[in-house]
Symmetry: C2
Subunit: 600 residues, 2 copies
């Protein structure tokens, strides 16, 4: 394949034309930045991603982490890639100048990360887990903890993990049993087992900073008794020097279907000797701290699933342009040359479906990242608050909708390649396997749906949803000035009305018939909201394309026409799916609720 | 897992209650048979499948076929399993007594095969490929060829393959280039390359009978110039003795994402020395012969994908009943014990979705197998003809709809197991990988859609579709006698009307705007027909359940209630999807047709 792993035009379109990310330079924090500095960061990301990450994506899948002489062994390319990633400053790209960061907006940082997500998700995971843990420490750790743990993480010298799940506490974090016994000096002795912990053992960094959810002895049951601890692989002295092994024992590796390059572990804390943790912030606030990080982590999941979908889309597009097979249904001459399969409408259908899913997921993810920037940096407290609320509403959609539909996109990519796509000689089957993790981790998509319907749309008397409706209706109103978009503007308006009515009905029903019954259909509700949000993203993209098309030259003409056609695809083929969903939800259908175990 | 790989109750329900397969005993061919003989065959299938096939399903995935000293090496369990399969007579189960068969109906044979499909699809493939090739020889080969090739295949001493595809001729078989040069004595010298040939090298049998599609020198281009040849691995003398190597050279193995236990090869014919083939039947009739076999092969694909879906469903059901996690949304006591996840409505949703897909696909596949029995054996020529027409209509649905939705079922099974489902310690990820082949091979699902819309619904002035509509409307009329089914009977009636209108419109449009435009949306048309056919299958199952429920005792009460609830699920959650599809098709939506390569 001669084509790049990602078309820079697609990222540029979202950043500069759709989101107008340069406007962030008006914030004092980003005052030094401009399109030039953003482009420079993107160029560096592209170069490292193409040269050092994409090049071992398949090898890391074929040679998964394994035990050799009591240590986990990864292929050497992983360390080389992450060292270069660190050298270029990506571990601290969005952090303060004062701590060695570049003070890049989170939206631009995530746009850079898109190169890495598309190139090699498994190697990139070591980096984004570290960044997520660092963000949490930045917000909640003491200055002294930051000096010892955060600073080396920002330099890529220490890596980080999030250690929440246990064998008996996955979706139900309130059931975490890992115990923390106070030692009287602010330190705690940890004991218990953790499960599904990614990146908790390797030789990629000088230390591993595990952020561990545990219960201080005597704390209340449930989520209200969970505290968060820094539990390093090796203890760190006050002067930052690395000391003894801290007895974070890896009792096993999990062997996954995909995402194989990311080592995933079963941990035992404290069985072999003292495993010492330092509490972060206040006791019993652990889950709140974790959730602070989870929102950003969920944007990362959404964007990285979008980029896996995107990588499959681009690969299958290139294949479709170069694979001759068959002829037009109207060409009855068997001696005529075969045509490239992109000339078959059904192949274009599978390409358009992919494009419509992954490009809206990409736009949505970067939009959310920009909301993070606004929430933290806008001088106007109303903008800050509203950005935060919108983000709360959109987060479960970004995580769940993007991962579900990007996975569907990956399956289309395989189908376009046919038998070839089913072999390990082509990358599309790996994208599909890798991407299958995304609907599961960082809160299953079922949990996201309950978060959306059970919490987000009702919070602050529905303000988050109202804000989204306001924004999306404004987009619809703006689109009506283009004749060609009026059909979509009207359809979006109707979909928003439908969403508003359905939500009001379900929130009301919850009070009337109980939360269990009302939440039984949370998943189709998330599907309904997700497709409506994606339709909004497509109308916004079509608006930009309609504005720019008359003045476009060269490749841009086709580019904007493609955006308009993908918008058309989404409105004709996808958005109508919400009709059946709304009907089901408005009936408060109880089929699943009523089903009995004994009837299966 | 203590549970069997397949619930015998499910097979019995379809065979004896839904299809009333015992009625086939009225045909002279099956006169010796009864429920007792059918049950005996099913019991034997179960025993061998459980003891010898299921036991190495994962091992065959982990240790895929590889070259050792110039031969392909499979794990020894494959040979042991197939030897027992042969010993029990399954290679000839449906064949005449005269050739050593059991004269079992095809429907019962396929019900037996369901045990093997569910237990280990990759090992079973060696058997079903052989049976498919044997069926073709039975119909079209000369008596002399049957004596030398077919007879050993029925005993499981020779295995068979179908060698159609080439690197440049997959979906477009008219472009097959393998050449056959007449040697003047009825034999031909073959030369060329074949691709994706399953089972073309192994040491499981004394010989491998490859059925090869090739073009006799001077034959017309396209599909009308293809002939079919018997091309054995080792030549077979007139007395049946095995002679020299026939130069069917394996030039490579394909390394697949799933279905790994079935060796898949790149073949070169005649490069190293003479590769001799014997023509089957008449020259230039090869594709017609192949298609005879393809209909049965496509039923096998549909049923085997259904059973992969089914195996995942049953596994995830067992897991959901035994995995404690979380509490009811209305239980706020964090100290209360966790409940099995089957108690969460969203988990029951994912189980019901699986049940609704795989049990209708199973019923549909066995229904089709019974149509094969009727087509071949009914004394009434009208029944024979109508059974054949219905089968023609249903075949693309069975192949494509079953494989698409059983794959969706497998994804739900993974989701229910969460992180565990994503690991190779549990079988559900393998089912998903194995099943991903089914929308691709034996004619991609896109090809099935074109077959359905471009050929099947228009054939004989729409008689096949009319027959289906007649049958399905009769089911709807029959269901109206149960109050509880009236809602579904009405919905099915409306769906059938919609299907009839949409089809008439599309067939008419083809004449008006050209086949290319009308066929551009063949895939959503297949989705529309598929969901309508599945709704029919569910109503029929619900009818039986409604009849039986009042007199049911013990486990049957829950069993029938489950059938009724799955029917409700399908009518409330699935069938309404056809509304949006019909709307799209009736607009002759040209989004995909109009899309230009340069706009991507």
């Amino acid at each position: 394949m001669g084509m790049p792993i990602l078309a820079p035009r697609d990222i540029d379109f979202v950043l500069y034309e759709l989101l107008e990310v340069e406007s962030l330079s008006a914030y004092p924090r980003f005052g030094d930045h401009s399109r030039e500095t953003f482009d420079a960061a993107l160029k560096t990301a592209r170069q490292i991603a193409e040269d050092l990450f994409a090049t071992h994506n398949r090898k890391a899948d074929l040679e998964e982490p394994r035990w050799v002489d009591g240590r986990v062994q990864l292929i050497p390319e992983v360390k080389q890639a992450l060292a270069e990633y660190a050298r270029a400053g990506f571990f601290a790209a969005h952090q303060d100048y004062a701590v060695g960061g570049m003070q890049l907006p989170w939206a631009v940082t995530q746009a850079c990360m898109c190169w890495f997500y598309a190139a090699n998700i498994a190697t990139t995971a070591y980096a984004f887990l570290t960044v997520a843990a660092a963000n949490l420490l930045q917000t909640f750790a003491s200055e002294e903890q930051k000096a010892r743990y955060l600073q080396p993480m920002l330099q890529g010298r220490f890596f980080g993990t999030m250690a929440m799940s246990e064998p008996n506490a996955g979706s139900s974090l309130g059931d975490v049993r890992t115990a923390a016994e106070p030692l009287g000096d602010g330190r705690y002795r940890l004991s218990g087992g953790k499960m599904w912990i990614s990146g908790a053992t390797h030789e990629l960094s000088g230390n591993i900073v595990n952020l561990v959810l545990a219960r201080i002895k005597g704390a209340p049951p449930g989520v209200k008794g969970l505290s968060l601890f820094i539990v390093p692989r090796y203890r760190v002295a006050a002067d930052g020097s690395i000391g003894a092994d801290n007895n974070v024992v890896v009792s096993g590796l999990n062997h996954k279907m995909g995402y194989r390059g990311t080592v995933n572990t079963v941990l035992n804390l404290g069985e072999r000797g003292d495993c010492i943790g330092e509490i972060i912030g206040e006791p019993n606030q652990g889950l709140a701290y974790m959730f602070h990080m989870m929102n950003e982590a969920r944007i990362v999941i959404g964007l990285s699933s979008a980029m896996l979908g995107y990588a499959g889309f681009r690969y299958s597009l290139d294949y479709a342009r170069n694979r001759p097979q068959g002829r037009s249904p109207e060409n009855k001459d068997p001696a005529a040359p075969q045509v490239p399969i992109v000339q078959h409408a059904d192949v274009r259908r599978m390409l358009l479906a992919q494009k419509s899913y992954v490009e809206s997921a990409l736009a949505l993810g970067l939009h959310a990242a920009m909301l993070v920037d606004r929430q933290k940096n806008d001088p106007d407290p109303v903008v800050r608050e509203e950005s935060g609320l919108l983000l709360e509403f959109l987060t479960p959609i970004i995580k769940a909708w993007s991962s579900d539909w990007s996975l569907a996109a990956n399956s289309y990519a395989i189908q376009i390649l046919g038998g070839y796509g089913y072999t390990r000689d082509y990358p599309v089957e790996q994208y599909w396997r890798d991407n299958r993790l995304n609907p599961i981790h960082e809160g299953t998509n079922g949990i996201q749906a309950i978060d959306l319907l059970g919490r987000k749309v009702a919070m602050q008397k529905g303000r988050a949803l109202a804000l989204f409706l306001r924004e999306a209706r404004a987009s619809a109103a703006g689109a009506a000035r283009f004749d060609a978009l009026r059909e979509y503007a009207r359809a979006l308006g109707e979909a928003l009305d439908r969403l508003e009515r359905t939500t009001a009905f379900l929130v009301g029903a919850s009070a009337r018939v109980g939360a269990a019954r009302a939440l039984a259909n949370a998943s189709p509700y998330l599907d309904l909201v997700g497709h409506t949000v994606a339709a909004w993203m497509w109308l916004r993209q079509a608006l930009v394309a309609s504005d720019k098309l008359p003045g476009a030259v060269g490749d841009d003409v086709g580019f904007y026409k493609g955006k308009l056609q993908a918008c058309r695809y989404f409105y004709r083929w996808e958005l109508p799916k919400t009709l059946a969903l709304a009907s089901l939800l408005s009936d408060l259908d109880a089929t699943c609720f009523d089903m009995q175990d004994g009837w299966f």
